[in-house]
């Protein structure tokens, strides 16, 4: 049966299991919006296309399924760009659909024409320009397959207006996707496993580095079993948090720029590194020349181009993490590694004393205290989404993740403004969960308009606004590396309580630590979305910190005993 391209679009998405799309209409995409009314798909109207992109990304991360965002041509499409790059750098499976001017106007600088496939070429896993209704369904199926298979990632389909208006016949799911050059299921040869097994058996001081790939392949249980059998401790990347319980004795914690001291020291002293589904980002390695010099390195990755990209690898295993761990598991020798584990324990030294949580309450509210109290009040069970900045690192440090898939954050791109829209997407993906967005006062303002989206959609999310009156993370760099010359980091903020109320949320302010828990409890009882404006200490810093480009052992530690920070510098 002949259907309009626009109907084929929605039919194909429905057939692929898509239930919700996030978007914003406009001229070139109007045929699709018109047909949407006749489709069972739910549409969430964002207030800016960037918001729609982050919502789809948040939805994808929370559900483990495809997220879909849709926008019109020109400015609608370019507004998606940050969100596309964000999905690319964190390997999030998101389908981006953009309207395009009619095919006969292409290449003539028509009204609202931009070369979207050109613009997004380096920030998508793949992209398509479709100008024929007859191609549309098949391209969409291909796009969805590419987005979700292998190492997931964003795929953009740019559709000309006439392709949506023409008719064609297409039956979703009948023609197999044939991509002769696409190899999402490359597998390592057996000899690589042999070498890996003997390296693991021989190692005296091994460390596993676990990243988002562990979560994406659903390998949490397999990893835990592997660690317990081999008694190898694991360090986690920011995006790997939650892949094994924070409280597990073999979980060292987060590595890298704001990782705990002993985690980074253990990596530097290791004689073997087993990297699983992580990509040796500069934020986790520091100075590459000084990185884990004494360690042989095994790298398990679904994407072969990650192997030997930043770090010289001894054994590279291409493949799915879960499958690989299962194969290794049956072959590695069960061992005790008491000396090594005791050595790492020693490295903890006075870390506990320096920890911000050990500080006496001096009347000032510290962001880390807010997050720790939030963790306590929610028993660590909320689905937590962060924005980008100091608060993000404190969430990583103090909202301990006991179970997988409860922590969503922008890692690779570090996109301010991600938090609130991603939380909206996450809530839609998992409506029964308690959702907390922890955001900074800076990043929050980049996508604050999405508060109204919460209201329009009748969503209940909770927003913990960590209001330090500044672009905290940048201020910290200025304090450490630019002689406290605070250029453009102090914020004059709106009244966030009024702002949230104007968008239909319940909101109030908290200034004392004693009030944090009660505020969290009250937020949980509120039927609708809530924003709490936590007025926290301005001049606090995230410790430890490995300065960009320094070796992992060269970290700046929290002064001990704590030096009072003064507000007079402001």
């Amino acid at each position: 049966m002949e259907r309009k391209g626009a109907d084929i679009l929605w039919d194909t998405l429905v057939h692929a299991g898509v239930e919700v799309v996030f978007g914003y209409p406009g001229g070139a995409i109007l045929p699709a919006y018109d047909a949407l009314l006749d489709s069972p798909i739910r549409h969430v109207l964002a207030r800016h296309e960037q918001g729609a992109a982050h919502m789809a990304d948040g939805y994808a991360r929370a559900s483990g399924r495809l997220g879909v965002a849709i926008a019109t041509s020109g400015p609608g499409a370019t507004n998606l760009v940050t969100g596309i790059a964000n999905a690319m750098l964190d390997s999030s499976p998101v389908l981006f659909i953009t309207g395009q001017v009619p095919s006969w106007m292409l290449g003539r600088d028509a009204f609202q024409e931009v070369d979207m496939t050109g613009i997004t070429l380096p920030i998508t896993k793949h992209n398509y320009l479709v100008s024929e209704a007859s191609e549309l369904g098949h391209v969409l199926e291909e796009a969805i397959y590419v987005a979700c298979s292998g190492r997931p990632g964003p795929v953009l389909v740019d559709i000309t207006k006439d392709a949506m208006q023409q008719s064609a016949s297409f039956a979703p799911g009948t023609k197999p996707v044939r991509l002769p050059g696409y190899r999402p299921d490359l597998r390592a040869l057996p000899e690589e496993f042999d070498r890996a097994v003997s390296m693991i058996d021989e190692a005296k001081r091994p460390v596993v580095l676990a990243g988002r790939g562990v979560l994406q392949s659903g390998a949490s249980d397999d990893l835990l079993a592997f660690l317990e059998k081999t008694q190898v401790p694991a360090a986690l990347t920011l995006l790997g948090l939650g892949c094994i319980p924070a409280s597990h004795p073999l979980n060292l914690g987060m590595m890298g720029m704001h990782g705990e001291a002993w985690v980074n020291l253990a990596i530097q002293e290791a004689d073997l590194i087993v990297a699983l589904g992580m990509r040796f980002d500069d934020r986790v390695t520091g100075n590459l020349a000084a990185y884990a010099r004494g360690a042989r390195k095994i790298h398990v990755e679904i994407d072969p181009s990650e192997i030997n990209k930043n770090v010289q690898i001894d054994v590279g295993i291409v493949g799915d993490i879960r499958e690989t761990l299962q194969r290794l598991m049956s072959r590695v020798t069960a061992k005790r590694r008491d000396t090594w584990l005791a050595r790492i324990d020693d490295m903890k030294g006075d870390s506990a004393v320096r920890d911000i949580q050990s500080l006496p309450d001096n009347g000032r509210l510290l962001a880390a205290h807010v997050i720790s109290d939030l963790w306590n009040a929610t028993q660590g069970k909320a689905l937590v989404i962060t924005d980008v900045g100091q608060h993000q690192m404190w969430v990583a440090q103090y909202y301990h993740q006991e179970t997988p898939h409860r922590f969503i954050t922008s890692g690779g791109l570090g996109t301010m403004g991600f938090g609130v829209p991603a939380a909206i997407g996450a809530k839609i993906a998992r409506p029964d969960e308690e959702v907390w967005a922890v955001v900074g006062d800076g990043g929050f303002q980049m996508t604050a308009a999405e508060l109204t989206t919460c209201t329009q959609e009748g969503l209940k999310i909770n927003i913990a606004l960590i209001n330090n009156g500044c672009l905290g993370m940048v201020r910290q760099w200025q304090e450490f590396f630019y002689s406290k010359r605070y250029a453009a980091t102090k914020l004059v903020n709106p009244d966030f309580v009024k702002l949230a109320e104007a968008h239909g949320l319940a909101a109030w302010r908290v200034e004392q630590r004693a009030d944090v828990r009660a505020a969290v409890e009250r937020a949980r009882l509120e039927p609708g979305s809530v924003l709490i404006d936590f007025r926290v200490e301005q001049e606090d810093s995230v410790y430890p910190m490995v300065p960009a480009g320094a070796g992992l052992e060269d970290m700046i530690r929290r002064p001990s005993p704590i030096v009072e920070t003064s507000q007079s510098d402001w």
């Binding site: 896993k125 799911g173 030997n308 291409v318």
Partner: protein, 201 residues
């Protein structure tokens, strides 16, 4: 410089990659963009049809060592439209450039110019009263040598193709990617169209 038949394992300053791609609009841009953003330097890139409909073959000469070539190969495979990549730098291969050179050539100089062509097995493909067009195929080395001798006559205009390469013997290029020990399953085929994809929960 590339030698006609390379076979030694030394670090090469230039790497020669044979790349099969789907013959679709935009594929050249994807490949070129990859080289640019990953900071690989292209010395030359040629592309043309193969005997298989829908498949084009590129010969890419890049600057870099063996490790760079491996990284480049792995990155090329990330492009969905790239079918197969083979580094032929260290394989016995025939590598050729084509040059068309228009040389100033009054009647008085003709004999000498033709002699040079003879020695280099270059062909004169067009002749006018005061100029000739010379066609030469060969390694870059050979063409450079020819140009050195033609320059004194005056090169009016010149065009070169960049290298094309093909391995010797009956073996076609191997199917398994060499950049990392891995096997390729028979055919990557999905009839479920993704179905909402990998469910990680």
């Amino acid at each position: 410089m590339l030698t006609e038949v390379t076979g030694q394992k030394a670090l090469a300053r230039l790497q020669v990659l044979a790349v099969y791609v789907e013959d679709l609009p935009g594929v050249l841009t994807r490949v070129a963009s990859l080289f640019r953003r990953r900071l690989f330097n292209i010395a030359s890139l040629t592309v043309g049809h193969t005997d298989q409909p829908g498949v084009s073959r590129m010969t890419i000469v890049m600057e870099g060592d063996d490790a760079d070539a491996l990284r480049c190969e792995a990155n090329l495979y990330r492009l969905v439209n790239v079918l197969r990549v083979e580094n032929v730098t260290h394989l016995p291969a025939v590598i050729r450039d084509l040059a068309l050179v228009k040389v100033r050539c009054p009647v008085s100089a003709r004999r000498e110019v033709l002699e040079v062509c003879d020695v280099f097995r270059a062909r004169v493909v067009d002749m006018s009263l005061d100029a000739v067009i010379i066609e030469s195929t060969g390694t870059e080395d050979k063409i450079e040598g020819l140009l050195d001798l033609l320059r004194p006559f005056g090169i009016i205009e010149m065009v070169r193709t960049g290298s094309v390469a093909i391995t010797r013997g009956v073996d076609a290029l191997s199917v398994d990617p060499q950049f990392v020990h891995a096997t390729v399953p028979e055919a990557v085929d999905s009839s479920d169209g993704g179905q909402g994809g990998t469910n990680v929960l």
